[in-house]
C-alpha cells in the first residue's frame, strides 16, 4: 500500500510551456474520446457499487466488449440506487446510462436490446424515448460543482482530470496570481469550513500566510469518522486530483513546504485512488522540487487514520500524524501558530479544499453569488435511512430539507412514515417534520437544535425507539471519548447508565433531571469539541420527543438487558 505506481508513459514537465503543451494534448485526447468513431463504455466503480458487483460488470465489459469499444473504469456518480451502472456512448450519439444491471446483462445492453434498463442520457437532450438524466429528480435540483467529474472521468487518469480543468487553479497561483490576490479571492468567496465548524477558510489562510515560523504545513482532514457520512470518501473516489489541487494551492499561497492528506483508514479504494493521483502528479512534476521551473518546492505525504473518531479533531489529527495517540490539546495556541511538529499548520476539511480550485479559476465573486447570505457555495449531502433513493448529492446552500428529502431522495420508502431526522452526525439534535421547511445553511438550524455539520442526515421512522436511538448516539460518544479529560470520560458513561436504567424500566422522572444536570457538566467542562457536544443529541431527543421518554420511564423499552458490548 505504501507506493502507488505512476502511469509509465508520463514524463516530468520542466517548464510552464511543457505543462501547457501537456494540457493541450490531454484535451485533444478527451475530445477524441467523445467525438471519435469508437464506442465508449464507462463502468461506475466506487465502494458502494463494488459491494453490488460492479467489478464483475467491469471484468465482463473488458472481456466481452474490449475489442468493440473503449472500456473505462470511472467512479460512482453518487446515485447508489442505479448501481451498478454502465454508460455507453455510441458514435454520433450522446452517452446513455444504464442501471442497475449485472454482469449477465452487459452484452444485451451493449447490443441495444435492453433499453428498459436505461436511466437517462447524460448531459444532453432526450434520445429516442430515453429521457435526459438531468431531468431525473435525483439530478434535476443538484448543482454539481465539486462533484461534476463524478462518474465522468477516470479517477486514475491525470489526463482525464486535466482535460476537465484540474490544476487550472494551481497553474494560476503558480504563474499568474500573487499569494495576496489568491487569498483575497478565497476571502471574497467567504468559503466556510466544511468539516463541521464553518470557520472561514480565507481568515485561516491569511493567518497561515502571515505566520513567520518555517517550515509550514498544510493538512487536509479527510478522516471522516462520523458514523453517518461518506462525502469525503466519495470525493476521493471520484476526483482525487481536485482535492490534491486544493492542497497544493493552499501550500503555494500560504508558503507551506509540505502538504499532507490524513485519510480515514477504513477507505481502501479512496486511499488507493488518492495515492495514484499523488504518484502521477509527482511524476509530471506538479509535486517536488522546482515545480514547472517556478522555484517552488512542495513535498507531499499521505497518512492514514486508525479508526479513532477523535482523530478528526484537528489537534488530535496532528498528534496522530506525529505517531502518537490522537488526543486533543487545549487551545491556544491555535494550529496555524503551532501545529504539526510545533510549526504553523493550516488544516482544512477535504470538501473545503475541493472548493478552492474553482474559486481561484472563476473568482471569489462568482462563488459568493451561490448559496445564502452567510453560507456560500454548494454542500455535499448524504441522507440515509428508509428512503426511496440513496446516495451522495451536491446542492446549493439554502435548500430546504423537505425539497432535499422529498424531491431528490424521492421521499420515504414504501410503507415507512417519517418520524424525525438526526442532524449533525453525533453532534446535534434531531428535527421533526415541522422543521423541514427551514432553508439549510451553517447558521439556520441552531435555533431548533439542529446543525448542518458535515451534511449527513439520518432519517428514522416509527420502528426506531428514540430512547434507544439516543442511547446509541450517547454510547458512540462514550466509546469514542479519548479519555483525556474527566467530564467526558466519566460523564458519558454516566449518561449511558442512566439511559439504560430508564430502558430497563427502572427509571424515574428524576432521572430526566439528572440527565440534564450531568449533560450541563459535560458540555461546560470538556476539553474538546467531542465532549462539548456529546450530550446534545440526547438533550435534543428529550426536547423533541418528551412523550417517548416519559413512556420509557414508566414502561422501559427493553425486555432483557443486553450483554456488555464495547462498541454498542
Amino acid at each position: 500500500m505504501v507506493h502507488a505506481r505512476p502511469s509509465e508513459h508520463l514524463t516530468r514537465l520542466e517548464t510552464q510551456a511543457d505543462y501547457v503543451a501537456f494540457r493541450a494534448q490531454a484535451q485533444a485526447r478527451w475530445k477524441d474520446l467523445w467525438e471519435g468513431s469508437r464506442t465508449v463504455v464507462s463502468v461506475g466503480v466506487g465502494s458502494s457499487s463494488i459491494a453490488k458487483g460492479a467489478l464483475d460488470v467491469l471484468d465482463t465489459c473488458r472481456a466481452e466488449l474490449g475489442n468493440a469499444a473503449v472500456v473505462r473504469e470511472v467512479s460512482g456518480n453518487g446515485a447508489f440506487w442505479m448501481e451498478p451502472w454502465i454508460e455507453i456512448r455510441r458514435p454520433g450519439e450522446p452517452p446513455v446510462v444504464y442501471g442497475p444491471l449485472q454482469a449477465a446483462d452487459v452484452t444485451a445492453v451493449f447490443n441495444g436490446e435492453r433499453d428498459d434498463l436505461a436511466v437517462g442520457v447524460r448531459n444532453s437532450e432526450p434520445l429516442r424515448n430515453i429521457p435526459s438524466l438531468n431531468e431525473h429528480p435525483f439530478f434535476r435540483d443538484q448543482l454539481q460543482i465539486i462533484s461534476r467529474n463524478a462518474g465522468v472521468i477516470e479517477p486514475d487518469s491525470i489526463e482525464d482530470a486535466i482535460a476537465r480543468g484540474a490544476y487550472d487553479g494551481y497553474f494560476k497561483v503558480l504563474f499568474e496570481m500573487s499569494a495576496e490576490e489568491a487569498i483575497a479571492e478565497v476571502t471574497a468567496a467567504n468559503v466556510r469550513g466544511r468539516g463541521g465548524g464553518g470557520f472561514p477558510a480565507g481568515i485561516k489562510w491569511e493567518s497561515g500566510r502571515k505566520a513567520r515560523v518555517t517550515p509550514k504545513f498544510v493538512v487536509c482532514n479527510s478522516h471522516e469518522g462520523e458514523p453517518n457520512v461518506y462525502k469525503d470518501r466519495h470525493l476521493h473516489e471520484c476526483d482525487p486530483h481536485r482535492i490534491l489541487e486544493g492542497i497544493l494551492i493552499a501550500c503555494v499561497v500560504c508558503g507551506a513546504e509540505r502538504g499532507y492528506n490524513y485519510i480515514g483508514g477504513e477507505y481502501p479504494l479512496a486511499i488507493r485512488r488518492f495515492r495514484k493521483a499523488v504518484a502521477d502528479a509527482e511524476r509530471i512534476g506538479l509535486i517536488g522540487k522546482n515545480i514547472l521551473g517556478t522555484g517552488h518546492d512542495i513535498a507531499f505525504r499521505i497518512r492514514t487514520g486508525g479508526g479513532a473518531y477523535i482523530c478528526g479533531e484537528a489537534s488530535a489529527m496532528m498528534f496522530s500524524v506525529m505517531g502518537v495517540r490522537g488526543q486533543p490539546r487545549t487551545k491556544p495556541p491555535r494550529s496555524v501558530e503551532e501545529g504539526l511538529w510545533k510549526r504553523p499548520t493550516i488544516a482544512n476539511n477535504t470538501e473545503t479544499l475541493a472548493n478552492i480550485p474553482d474559486i481561484i479559476v472563476n473568482g471569489g465573486e462568482w462563488y459568493a453569488g451561490l448559496g445564502t447570505e452567510g453560507s456560500k457555495g454548494t454542500k455535499l449531502m448524504t441522507v440515509q435511512g428508509p428512503l426511496a433513493r440513496h446516495g451522495v448529492v451536491e446542492v446549493e446552500m439554502g435548500m430546504t430539507l423537505r425539497k432535499l428529502f422529498d424531491d431528490i431522495y424521492g421521499g420515504m420508502a414504501e410503507g415507512r412514515t417519517f418520524k424525525g431526522v438526526q442532524t449533525g452526525g453525533v453532534s446535534a439534535g434531531p428535527l421533526k417534520d415541522e422543521h423541514l421547511d427551514i432553508p439549510v445553511d451553517f447558521d439556520s438550524l441552531g435555533d431548533v437544535g439542529g446543525m448542518l455539520g458535515s451534511g449527513g442526515w439520518v432519517i428514522f421512522d416509527e420502528s426506531v425507539n428514540v430512547v434507544d436511538f439516543a442511547r446509541y448516539l450517547t454510547a458512540f460518544n462514550r466509546y469514542e471519548s479519548c479519555s483525556k479529560c474527566v467530564p467526558c470520560r466519566l460523564g458519558n458513561p454516566a449518561l449511558v447508565e442512566i439511559l439504560d436504567r430508564i430502558r430497563f424500566g427502572r427509571g424515574s422522572m428524576d432521572d430526566l433531571t439528572l440527565i440534564q444536570r450531568t449533560s450541563k457538566h459535560i458540555i461546560e467542562l470538556s476539553l474538546c469539541g467531542l465532549g462539548q457536544v456529546a450530550p446534545v443529541p440526547l438533550i435534543g431527543m428529550i426536547e423533541h420527543f418528551p412523550e417517548d421518554f416519559e413512556h420509557a420511564v414508566k414502561y422501559g423499552t427493553m425486555t432483557a438487558p443486553p450483554l456488555p458490548l464495547a462498541a454498542d
Binding site: K52, G53, W81, P227, G265, R303, G307, G323
Partner: protein, 197 residues
C-alpha cells in the same frame, strides 16, 4: 436478502478460508523495508503507517511484529503498544479463518443493526472483536459506515457484502461460515430485490 458480492469472490472458497495468519518475522521485515526515512520526525510519522501495513497484511499485529516495527523506526515497543491499544483498527490477536464486519453505523442502526449485534452476542456468545471458539469466525462491529447504506443493515463476510440482513439471516450466514461452506451460490442466492429508481 439481497446478496451482493465483489468480483472474484463468487466461486466457492475451500474451507476453511485462510483469513487466519501467523506472523512471519521475515515478511514483516520485508514489508518494513519500504519504510525509509530521512530524519527523526519522519520516522515518528511512519510508526502508524507501518503498523497499519502489518495489520492489513496479517490481520493482526503480534508482539514480535510490534518489536520489529519499534526497532526499525527507532522507538520503543511500549510506545507501539500505546498506539495498538488506542486505535480501534488494530488487532493484537489473530483473526479467525473468516472475518465478519457488522456495520453499526447510523444508517444501519436505524434500519435495525441492533438486532444483529444482539444476535451475535446472545445467539453466538461473541462480543465485539472476539472470535468463535473454533477459531472460524472473528467478528468486528464497526461504528463507521461501510459506505453501502442503501443495503442497510449491512454485513461483510470476508470480501462479500450482504444486505439488508435480518437476525435469522445472520445466524444462517454465521453457521455456514462456521461450517466452512461458503458456497453461497449453491443455494441459488440471487442479487435479490434492489432499491428502486
Amino acid at each position: 436478502m439481497a446478496h451482493a458480492e465483489s468480483a472474484h469472490a463468487v466461486l466457492p472458497v475451500p474451507a476453511p478460508f485462510t483469513g487466519r495468519q501467523d506472523v512471519d518475522p521475515e515478511v514483516v521485515r520485508e514489508l518494513l523495508s519500504h519504510f525509509t526515512f530521512d530524519d527523526y520526525e519522519e520516522a515518528q510519522e511512519l510508526i502508524l503507517s507501518a503498523l497499519q501495513e502489518v495489520n492489513e497484511h496479517f490481520g493482526w499485529v503480534s508482539p514480535e511484529a510490534a518489536q520489529i516495527v519499534a526497532e526499525h523506526l527507532n522507538t520503543t515497543v511500549n510506545r507501539v503498544f500505546g498506539l495498538l491499544t488506542f486505535y480501534a483498527d488494530f488487532r493484537t490477536e489473530p483473526r479467525g479463518h473468516h472475518h465478519m464486519l457488522i456495520c453499526h453505523g447510523m444508517a444501519c442502526y436505524v434500519m435495525g443493526s441492533q438486532a444483529l449485534v444482539q444476535e451475535m452476542q446472545g445467539g453466538f456468545g461473541i462480543d465485539d472483536g472476539e472470535t468463535t471458539a473454533d477459531e472460524q469466525v472473528s467478528i468486528q462491529v464497526v461504528n463507521g459506515c461501510l459506505g453501502v447504506c442503501d443495503l442497510a443493515p449491512v454485513v461483510k463476510l470476508d470480501d462479500e457484502y450482504f444486505g439488508p440482513v435480518t437476525a435469522e439471516e445472520l445466524t444462517s450466514l454465521l453457521n455456514r461460515a462456521i461450517g466452512g461452506q461458503r458456497a453461497m451460490r449453491e443455494k441459488g442466492v440471487s442479487n435479490g430485490p434492489r432499491p428502486t429508481k
